[in-house]
């Protein structure tokens, strides 16, 4: 029987030594940063759009719309990260018991047109930042 469960002990042991929770950066920073830059680039294209561009996109200045939405999503991610930072960056690995309680967090991408995000409808589907976010 003990042999049967050896792998479970091994996984538990590895999980204790694991560095991911403590050392993995916050993905919200990457998404936020890239989307802010993308938003600005596409907005510039929107401000300088020619009549031909607008006509091609069935009469919408799509660059302007997309650029502002993308920028808004990027800023929301940065804001969310600011409001709920990771709990214990670089502290002991696996700060399991010391997690902050849950509470409402901004849903990811709440500004996305059409509200396609799991969190956009309900406040609090955002995780409280702990572990890696």
């Amino acid at each position: 029987m003990s042999e049967e469960y050896e792998y479970r002990h091994e996984v538990e042991e590895l999980q204790r030594k694991s560095a991911t929770a403590a050392r993995l950066f916050d993905v919200r920073r990457i998404i936020g940063g890239l989307f802010v830059i993308y938003g600005i680039i596409v907005l510039i294209a929107g401000f300088t759009a020619s009549d031909a561009d607008v006509r091609k996109a069935s009469g919408i200045n799509i660059n302007l719309w997309t650029g502002s939405c993308v920028l808004a999503v990027g800023l929301l991610f940065l804001l969310w990260m600011r409001l709920r930072p990771l709990s214990a960056p670089g502290a002991e690995p696996k700060p399991e018991p010391a997690r902050p309680g849950g509470g409402p967090g901004a849903g990811p991408g709440a500004g996305e047109p059409g509200g396609r995000e799991p969190g956009s409808g309900e406040p609090g589907s955002g995780e409280p930042g702990s572990g890696a976010g």
Binding site: M1, E4, Y5, Y7, R8, V11, L14, Q15, K17, S18, A19, T20, A21, R23, L24, F25, V27, I30, I31, L34, F35, I37, Y38, I41, V42, A45, G46, A49, D53, V54, A57, S58, I60, I62, N63, W65, T66, C69, V73, R99, P100, G101, G102, G109, E112, P113, G114, R116, P118, G119, G124, S125, G126, E127, P128, G129, S130, G131, A132, G133
Partner: protein
């Protein structure tokens, strides 16, 4: 199948390329930044089982939202019409909910590191080795087919030679997974998910406006293809004729139950995302959170396929020179000005890389843990397996690139191989579900159920269908029927073999079968997880109800 017309070259400019290059830089940067977090093999293969549910949930969607899926589902939309929504609402959603509510406690709670490893502990080495080898070969093959498909699209859209696209995309995937392991694959998938949305939403909006909104879309398709084309269930009575070649029974049982449950609940490329979550509650919520965006993906994938059909009624015929697979590239070149066009190209490339990265990161885990470590080099220190994982990643990507080059001369064979491997998931699901709920099911029953189910599906598809012994109107219809055959054959063989073979001792099944608990202390729930909106049952049932409601506009 993957041929793209000459006339699709996009008028890209420096702005579009800036967006694209920026993306490649960030993808690589994520790999380098994630490297610091890899200390053990568990970090490399399962992100140390530490990620929050929203990250793993979005990665769960993105791992499936490869470009083959996007282009293919848009093509299905143009070819079969609104029936394509069945892949999502009767197919994916119930299966994802089932994975989260019913199967995940066994997967995550038993602390296995892969789907085949569950077979090892539940049934024993024979079925474990069989499924590990088939999964590994299939992953490399699918990664290769994915790369090849990308090379063709990129050649048509941007004018890069095929080998350049294969080498560039392959090396980027190799670099970021070798460096950061699953964490960097998952982080990039989350990023890819949002980039894909930013690419497809504007495309759909502009396209709808061009043809007069949803009303205009419905009117022109009804006029040209009849009312059943814009309905989900119209014309699916048993014996009646429809473009999909399937009736409501084969749709619900074959596509909904057998094929989709087989794919979503046993495909390790998907389940791996949930296994990397930080606790059982987060693991259960991974596919449930994923179900919500998944439900709305037809809006930005199938609808563009329909729009393309209205704008170019000859698509898919000789006359236009365009294939159904060209639907989304066609809309990109017709509708998007520079700027958004760059986003769309980036989104498409991101989707290709997401699909391939999911295959590679699950392949390296299964090959290292379930083949190399279990049967070839046992009992080495953890660092050895971490290094092996990195080497296997590189080998897997290079093999995928090789497959891509082979695929360019033998694309028909590749299609058959994919069909063949798709049959393996269905009996695998059958073996899992029986094993999880029936203590008595024996090791031999698991192995023979797996093998006989797969063979039965292949006989049905390759001999009875392709040999014209039975009449099924289309490939898709035949797929659905083969899946039902595989499930029934696998189940019957298991039930038949079990009474004559020795069961596994009950104490070795703790935590693997319904009604038993894993030894040791159960993990305490994390604070905050008891909130009602985080309860798996609430999430799961609301996903199911919402999916059923989605059918209403297409059934009246």
């Amino acid at each position: 199948m993957h041929y793209l017309a000459e006339g699709l070259r996009l008028p890209t400019n420096a702005l579009d390329y800036t967006i694209l290059i920026l993306y490649f830089v960030v993808v690589l940067g994520v790999g380098f930044a994630a490297r610091a977090s890899v200390r053990t093999s568990l970090d490399f293969f399962l992100s140390g089982r530490s990620l929050p549910a929203w990250v793993t949930g979005l990665a769960f969607v993105a791992a499936n939202l490869g470009a083959l899926e996007i282009l293919g589902m848009a093509a299905n939309g143009a070819q079969y019409g609104v029936y394509t929504v069945h892949w999502y609402w009767v197919g994916a959603i119930p299966a994802m909910v089932f994975l989260g509510l019913v199967m995940m406690p066994f997967y995550y709670g038993s602390k296995v590191r892969s789907v085949p490893e569950f077979l090892l502990h539940r049934y024993g080495p024979s079925s474990h080795l069989l499924s590990s080898i088939i999964f590994s070969v299939a992953s490399v093959l699918i990664a290769g087919v994915n790369l090849y498909a990308m090379a063709i699209v990129v050649e048509a859209l941007l004018g890069w030679p095929q080998w350049v696209a294969i080498v560039v995309a392959g090396l980027f995937v190799l670099a970021y997974i070798t460096l950061g392991g699953l964490s960097s694959a998952i982080y990039n998938e989350v990023l890819q998910f949002f980039v894909i949305l930013a690419a497809l939403i504007p495309l759909t909006v502009v396209g709808l406006r061009r043809i007069g909104g949803f009303g205009g879309l419905k009117d022109s398709l009804t006029a040209s293809h009849g009312p059943n084309f814009v309905s989900a269930w119209g014309g699916t009575g048993i014996g009646s004729d429809n473009p999909l070649g399937a009736n409501w029974l084969t749709i619900v049982l074959g596509l909904g139950f057998c094929l989709s449950f087989g794919y979503w609940t046993t495909n390790f490329a998907e389940v791996q995302r949930a296994l990397s979550a930080k606790n059982l509650s987060a693991a259960q919520r991974t596919p449930l959170i994923a179900a919500f965006p998944k439900m709305f993906i037809p809006l930005i994938v199938v609808v563009p396929g329909l729009i393309a059909l209205v704008m170019e009624p000859d698509i898919g015929t000789e006359k236009s020179g365009l294939q159904y697979n060209d639907a989304i590239p066609l809309l990109m070149s017709e509708l998007l000005p520079n700027g958004v066009l760059g986003l769309a190209v980036t989104g498409l490339l991101a989707a290709f890389m997401a699909g391939m990265a999911a295959n590679v990161s699950s392949f390296n885990t299964v090959f290292t843990n379930d083949i190399w470590r279990a049967y070839v080099m046992k009992g080495r220190p953890d660092g050895y397996y971490l290094l092996t994982g990195r080497v296997v990643t590189a080998i897997g990507v290079l093999a995928g690139m090789g497959t891509a080059f082979i695929a360019s001369s033998f694309s028909n064979i590749m299609n058959y191989l994919q069909t063949l491997f798709s049959f393996f998931n269905v009996p695998l699901f059958c073996v899992f579900i029986i094993g999880m709920f029936w203590k008595r099911a024996t090791a031999a029953a698991g192995f023979w159920g797996l093998l006989c189910g797969t063979v039965a599906a292949m006989i049905n598809y390759f001999w009875l269908y392709l040999g014209d012994v039975i009449a099924i109107p289309s490939d898709q219809g035949a797929n659905f029927v083969s899946a039902i055959v595989a499930f029934v054959a696998g189940g019957v063989v298991m039930v038949a073999v079990t009474p004559f073979t020795r069961p596994r001792p009950v104490e070795s099944l703790a935590g693997l079968v319904y009604g038993t608990t894993a030894p040791g202390v159960a993990e305490p729930p994390a604070p905050g997880d008891e909130a009602w909106y985080r309860r798996p049952a609430v999430l799961g049932w609301s996903a199911l109800i919402l999916a059923a409601l989605c059918y209403i506009p297409f059934s009246l």
